[in-house]
């Protein structure tokens, strides 16, 4: 089919517009990466744009030699792996249960989950809850609160509802129990949604810092996102003495820490982005 002239014009404009968006989005990223490799002198005089000036690896060596950085990095990996697994497990079984039409109290449980999307106990009641459950200063304080994202739950439930009931009924007739059906019929068919949810949760757990900040007291237990936040956010008080001491943590250190923390996710994204796109629409269309 021949393209009409107006369509070709549209395509050109579209391409230009999107290229501008790409450039605007890409520039800050390139700027940070460039700063991480640049000399302090050029950063101070705002000479660094999107390629490094005075290329050196000094700051990288400095950060990588800080043992706390690696300890926190390891923590992030542990929290992400354990957290993603727990999140995925809990969400899947909850979502599947909600997707079965004959569940007693189905509306009630769904309502309960949705309720949490809008209402929150608040910082202090949450803190008290976690503390009273004895989870403070442990791994569980990071991975258990907020293990089930209500949004992801609804998406998964919709997906499970979309699976043909006949398959389950056929399996039931053949004598399979509920758990068997889940393990052998439902899960194998749910690979796309599981992959998407894994990615959502993994990225969330990689970046989480508020829970760890609230419930953990020892710097050796912090994830690297908290390490980064402490360096970047700066002093929250007005004192000149401390705020300026913080300025010693120079902008190239901030840049390097940002790059090192974001690097794994950035590397993984291009390979998994098709699942992301799929996942966005997966929960939406029924049948």
């Amino acid at each position: 089919m021949k393209e009409s002239a107006s369509y070709r014009v549209f395509r050109v404009f579209n391409a230009i517009l999107l290229l501008i968006v790409v450039a605007v989005t890409l520039f800050p990223l390139l700027n940070v990466v460039a700063k991480s490799f640049s000399d302090m002198k050029y950063i101070a005089s705002n000479a660094v744009t999107f390629y490094p000036k005075g290329f050196n690896l000094k700051t990288y060596r400095l950060i990588m030699s800080d043992s706390m950085f690696w300890i926190d990095y390891k923590n992030t990996v542990v929290y992400t792996v354990v957290g993603t697994f727990i999140n995925l497990f809990m969400t899947t079984i909850f979502a599947y249960a909600l997707s079965v039409p004959r569940l007693m109290g189905r509306k009630f449980f769904t309502g309960l989950a949705v309720f949490t999307m809008f209402f929150n106990g608040g910082m202090i009641p949450n803190y008290l809850l976690v503390r009273n459950l004895g989870m403070r200063n442990t791994l569980w304080a990071v991975v258990v609160p907020g293990a089930i994202s209500a949004f992801n739950l609804i998406v998964m439930r919709t997906f499970f509802e979309g699976l043909p009931r006949e398959l389950e009924e056929a399996a039931a007739i053949d004598g399979m129990g509920t758990y068997g059906i889940v393990a052998h019929i439902v899960l194998p068919l749910s690979k796309p949604i599981l992959a998407t949810m894994t990615l959502f949760y993994a990225v969330g757990m990689w970046n989480t810092w508020f829970g760890p900040f609230l419930y953990l007291d020892r710097p050796e237990a912090f994830p690297v996102s908290l390490y980064l936040r402490n360096i970047i956010a700066g002093a929250s008080q007005a004192s000149g003495t401390d705020a300026d001491a913080l300025g010693e943590v120079a902008s190239n250190v901030k840049a390097v820490t940002i790059v090192l923390t974001a690097l794994p996710i950035i590397c993984v994204y291009p390979f998994l982005q098709k699942y992301f796109v799929q996942g966005m629409t997966l929960g939406s269309v029924k049948g």
Binding site: A172, D217, A235, S236, D244
Partner: protein, 573 residues
């Protein structure tokens, strides 16, 4: 029924039990715990044996010279604000030094500095806070008072000889009284300065002034003529391009024009910090400064600078980095600064302009039409003590320890400089950092190679325990370079520190009502101040409308309430 049917029934029952369990567990999570519920006002500890385990100088020593050592080893918990510039290490020499000197081990709860305020709120509200909470700025303790979790330290001051003797000797009682709450007590132990420390001022390119035989400005009128001359000599340069979005500049100018802090609130910081009144001592009443004629004079002054192209219009919006960059690259000649920023400026300018090719210095605080005044407090961020401390069997020892570490010369010196003979030597009141140690942050032995960093490696000079320029004069000046010392001495010699205004003792409801009332007014004042300065609204024609608007928004009611509460509380005392 078939096998399937029975299975379904069993499953239904199991599901119901599980559902019940879920509800039960979530209900259990809501049940209140026993701790932290009773709201009781803090009473000083009276039951335990007096001076248990603590030995200290009995009657009188010089202020700050009471020493302390616990008879038996004790442990106290402390909240530590972790500065990422020198993160806490468990093997810091500081901990051993404190232990050797006092027999006290500190159980430290580390909180990243960026989240210190939030975490502190959560911990206090939940009753989990450690016994000693430093880095609390006067005013920050107020929200915690109703919870009953922090102690009324005013009742404990008599058990802290270093603190009380210093307040007396350095004439700080009126400053301390500004911390009083309506019940006549105060809840935070402020850290003390013997001398008023001025930090913020104008930084100017003295080499350019010298080249053109221009004298350093001493008053705002001088500043105007200096800038005018610079503009004539360098017509392409706007001589004054400010940072901190003019907020700090107005704070510096306040005392000279209005005898009070008139700083502005910016996106990055609140240079106003709740200042709304000028206290008229003769009339013994509070005046709302934004509607005073003197404030009009102040704003007119800066508006004139902008109109004549002497003060860069972009100062109101540009980022600190942009402003600094202009100055560092020689595209402006004046900028507001503080002492630590001076170090930073010099480092950058050495790299950009070249060492020796420029010269910068801080001006004296310019005098204004209202006088050569300074406004400020000699109190700094301080320490809260929590209920947990009171319940500690070694409470009296804890008090003496806090008193020693933060208020005795010995304790402060240890925290700041380390161990005499090892990390530093002192001779005739002059402190030097020994060889093998460095502290570039304070400009001590900055070029030493293979040296241990006093802060990063040893933990001395740590912001949680010391003040950069506080405490007794000798210690305050010890880390300053000669330039800083000369600056502070000159300012204190040629400028007068105005006495602090008395406190208006609101009760909780009144305070809340006043805060709600004044917020929109001050927001309007802030907004109009910028408009007047930048010339967007003409100050001569627009002033009356502005004053009228302030009144409409409630400034008169606010002032009346403040004055009546003040008069009442005076009668009551």
């Amino acid at each position: 029924m078939s096998v399937i049917g029975r299975k379904v029934v069993v499953r239904k029952i199991a599901a119901a039990c599980l559902a019940f369990a879920v509800i039960a567990v979530s209900a259990a999570g809501c049940s209140p715990s026993g701790k932290g519920e009773a709201v009781s006002s803090a009473q000083p500890a009276s039951s335990e044996a007096a001076s248990q385990g603590a030995s200290s100088q009995a009657d009188s020593a010089a202020p700050g010279e009471y020493d302390f050592k616990s008879e038996k080893p004790v442990t106290f918990s402390l909240m530590f604000s972790d500065n990422p510039g020198y993160p806490l290490k468990n093997d810091w020499k500081l901990w051993d030094a404190i232990k050797d000197a006092t027999n006290v081990t500190l159980d430290v709860m580390v909180v990243p500095m960026a989240s210190y305020n939030d975490k502190r709120s959560v911990l206090i509200a939940s009753g989990d806070a450690p016994e000693i909470i430093p880095k609390t700025y006067p005013g920050q303790e107020v929200p915690f008072i109703p919870s009953g979790q922090i102690l009324a330290v005013s009742d404990l001051a008599d058990k802290m000889p270093n603190y009380s003797s210093e307040v007396k000797a350095w004439n700080l009682q009126s400053d301390v009284n500004t911390l009083l709450q309506k019940n006549g007590k105060y809840y935070v132990l402020p850290e003390l300065h013997e001398s008023f420390n001025v930090d913020y001022s104008l930084c100017v390119r003295t080499d350019i002034l010298k080249k053109n035989s221009i004298a350093m400005p001493e008053s705002w009128d001088d500043v105007y003529s200096v800038l005018k001359k610079l503009k004539e000599l360098y017509p392409d340069v706007t001589p004054f391009s400010d940072r901190w979005q003019l907020g700090a500049l107005l704070q510096i100018a306040g005392p000279g024009f209005c005898k009070t802090n008139t700083g502005l609130k910016t996106a990055g910081a609140d240079w106003n910090s709740g200042s709304t009144f000028y206290y008229d001592k003769d009339q013994d009443q509070f005046v709302f400064y934004p509607t005073m004629e003197e404030y009009k004079t102040e704003l007119s002054y800066f508006s004139k600078l902008v109109k004549e192209g002497l003060l860069d219009k972009e100062s109101a919006t540009q980022s600190d980095d942009q402003a600094k960059s202009k100055f560092e690259n020689g595209k402006s000649f004046m900028i507001t600064t503080n002492s630590q920023e001076m170090n930073d400026l010099r480092t950058k300018m050495d790299a950009i302009l070249g060492e020796g090719k420029y010269e910068v210095a801080k001006t004296n605080i310019p005098a204004g039409p209202a006088g050569a005044n300074l406004v400020g407090t000699r109190l700094e961020n301080g320490i809260m003590l929590t209920k947990k401390a009171q319940e500690d069997p070694n409470f009296e020892t804890l008090l003496k320890f806090v008193d020693w570490l933060w208020y005795s010369k010995e304790g402060e010196t240890l925290a700041k400089w380390g161990i005499e003979g090892e990390t530093y030597t002192v001779k005739d009141g002059k402190y030097t950092l020994n060889e093998g140690y460095t502290c570039p942050a304070y400009g001590l032995n900055p070029d030493a190679k293979d040296a241990k960093d006093l802060r990063k490696d040893l933990g001395f000079g740590c912001g949680v325990f010391i003040l950069t320029a506080g405490g007794p004069n000798e210690l305050a000046y010890s880390m300053m370079n000669d330039e800083e010392k000369a600056f502070i001495e000159n300012v204190n010699k040629t400028r007068t520190l105005l006495p602090s205004a008395p406190t208006i003792l609101y009760d909780e409801d009144q305070r809340e009502a006043q805060n709600l009332l004044v917020q929109p007014v001050m927001d309007y004042v802030n907004q109009m101040s910028y408009k007047f300065i930048l010339g967007q609204t003409d100050i001569d024609t627009g002033w009356d409308a502005y004053v009228q608007q302030c009144k409409t928004k409630g400034s008169e009611k606010y002032t009346e309430t403040a004055n009546s509460v003040y008069q009442e509380s005076k009668k009551a005392q």
